[in-house]
Amino acid sequence: MCHCGINIGGVVNVPEVVEYAKTLPNVVWTEGNLYTCSEAGLSSIRDSIKKHGLNRVIVASCTPRTHEPLFRATCEEAGLNKYLFEMANIREQCSWVHSHEPEEATAKAKGIVRMAVARARWLEPQDEPEVDVSDSAMVIGGGVSGLTAAVTLANQGFKVHLVEKEPQLGGITRRLGKIYPTLQDSSEIIDPLIKTTTSNENIQVYTSATLKDVSGYVGNFKVTLKKGTEDMKLDVGTIVLASGALNYEPPKGSFQYGVLGGVVTQLQLEEMLARGEVAEPERVLMIQCVGSRTGEVWTYELSDMSQSFAARLLSKILGVKKEEGWPYCSKICCMNAIKNAIRIKELWPKAHVDILFSDLRTYKEYEDFYRKARALEVKFIRYIREIPPEITEAPNKKLNVTAYDTLAGVETEFLCDLVVLSTPLCPSKEDVMLARMLKVPLGPDGFFMEAHPKLRPVDCQSDGIFIAGTACGPKDIPESIISAKAAAARASILMANRKLRTEALTADVNTDLCIGCGLCEELCPYGAHKIQNGKSTTIAALCRGCGVCAADCPRHAITMRHYSDRQILAQVEAMMA
């Protein structure tokens, strides 16, 4: 039993649950640890297995989704088959959700432990089947993250298929003029990367290509690509998802965007500067947090219940009216605005640049970048979101902006040539389709969700798929490159081994009970059941362990390894005990 510091111990009376566990049938040894996942806790598991001859081990702590592999490995080190380990989740599903009810939480923890013990009694050792892993990878997206991941994998000798839906590689990075904080041309970064990618003989690039279908599983994904009218089939072992993000465009009329000519987004300004379309301005005004940190979440198809929690909270507390946009901070816009302000100042030292911000977040070394802008006399003026700046047309193609300056406490007018909106990176609508195809979840903001935000930041919940770059949230270029290299490294672990042990969660047919009705064959989504000589047989290599067959078998002839009827019913029974 783990206290997890105060995470569990602060709510659940752990010593009481330890004492309770001693009274459960078959329990011969119990112990409370401050942190069971610490080396002390783990060595105690190993020692107890040997000392007390344990043949089942249960850890009551956090979620198996993060810590089960660690505890299973510990059991294996002590010679216990890892399928004889069971976990009771008393943190995420108990102490953290009943923080104000210590007594009820303690009673619930006892119940959860009792259920785990009941299940553990029926656990059986399992052998894990070994599958071959194809040593080729598919990278989805040809932006800076996708290119980096592709090159990293190819340099390790793996065959890489790089799929990009646009006709050109480079993603958003290619559209940026300069990059912060070095103010070098983005082409200095992206062009060599594109060249290395296209000249690498291990990388096959497919531009103007989209995914049509993905089936299979880790080590053996079967991918269908669509390029023009042509379909192509690929067999890959791993997938790196680097589909990137979009630059949010405000709806027409918001801050006069799309209505008045001089109102543009930062990305549009960069493209205009790169093409030399900007005449020397007298004054440029930038507005931060346009379409980000808003009170409303823009959802696609996901249920509105989960999406709008932060939004509803905000509107309740702050009374923020409904705004179009995204609830999160996009992290890069502050530095991006400062970068463009410095560029304008360097191009035209006489031009005035004002930045209207609600909160400025220039973390790490970007504080120096902010100071540099201040030294160049870029003015930072704080506005509040409840009183957004108003933009009207002025003579000579100028724009008149009225904003409430919170420092001076007065409304100030600005006569500007350009109004630049700092808009966030946001997920694209295609992500929903992509998520369905790959069977990976989207998070509350609509970005792809990592398996664990801290412990597994580039893994997807589905094995063999890894996330790089802005597909899982706003990132700047260095962060995108870091995550791309991390994703490539994670993918290469699988491919370098060439073999993979898959979880032994397959179906097992009792031929004495089977009447050969063929329902399992009909229902199995993977074709893992075949009727031979009037009886069903399982092809273990194809079985993914969903258990549809076992639940539907009219004769209860199919047992799911590690999720058998007995194990589940024992839990049901123990819940009520």
């Binding site: 979840p441 549809v548 819940m575």
Partner: protein, 164 residues
């Protein structure tokens, strides 16, 4: 009222409700979406009544209606089967199968005279921690209104007895 007061008074009202009847709710979750959604409710510290116990299976398609019947027979006051949203199933279409069986389960329960609100099917994604907590809260309230499950005292033989 401060935020802490609000929380405490909510807890008090909840406790008052429990004096009469404290329902026992069983939630089946699939490993990939809804169990992760339940975990997210935890990491987001979204509080819900402590009446629910969770059993994890790999897929909602694993849920044999017998498990639900068995739970009701053993004395559960409500059972929720949760899975990935339609189209999001990790195993392609296991949740569709779960849904199909669920309709038959409801028919069987009707025959047994069990109120149909005692069982519920819900789709919870890994990102829907709030939906999970609201679901448990709502189910607890609904089942509390229904009162204790009467099937418990009936004489239906356990399926495990039948099978062994």
């Amino acid at each position: 009222m401060s935020e802490i007061d609000t929380v405490e008074s909510t807890v008090d009202t909840e406790k008052a409700k429990r004096v009469n009847f404290d329902p026992r709710i069983l939630v089946f979750t699939c490993n990939w979406c809804s169990y992760a959604g339940a975990d997210l409710a935890g990491t987001s510290r979204l509080q819900y009544p402590p009446n629910a116990r969770i059993i994890r299976t790999m897929c909602s398609g694993r849920i044999d209606p017998v498990f639900v019947l068995e739970a009701l027979r053993d004395g559960a006051d409500g059972v929720i089967v949760t899975g990935c949203h339609p189209g999001d199933c990790h195993y392609v279409k296991g949740n569709f199968r779960a849904e199909k069986r669920f309709h038959f389960l409801k028919m069987a329960l009707k025959q047994l005279g069990v109120e149909e609100d005692r069982v519920r099917l819900a789709w919870i994604s890994a990102g829907e921690g709030e939906k999970f907590s609201l679901l448990v809260r709502d189910m607890t309230d609904k089942v509390r209104e229904l009162g204790p499950n009467q099937l418990k005292s009936s004489t239906i033989r356990s399926t495990s007895e039948v099978r062994s």
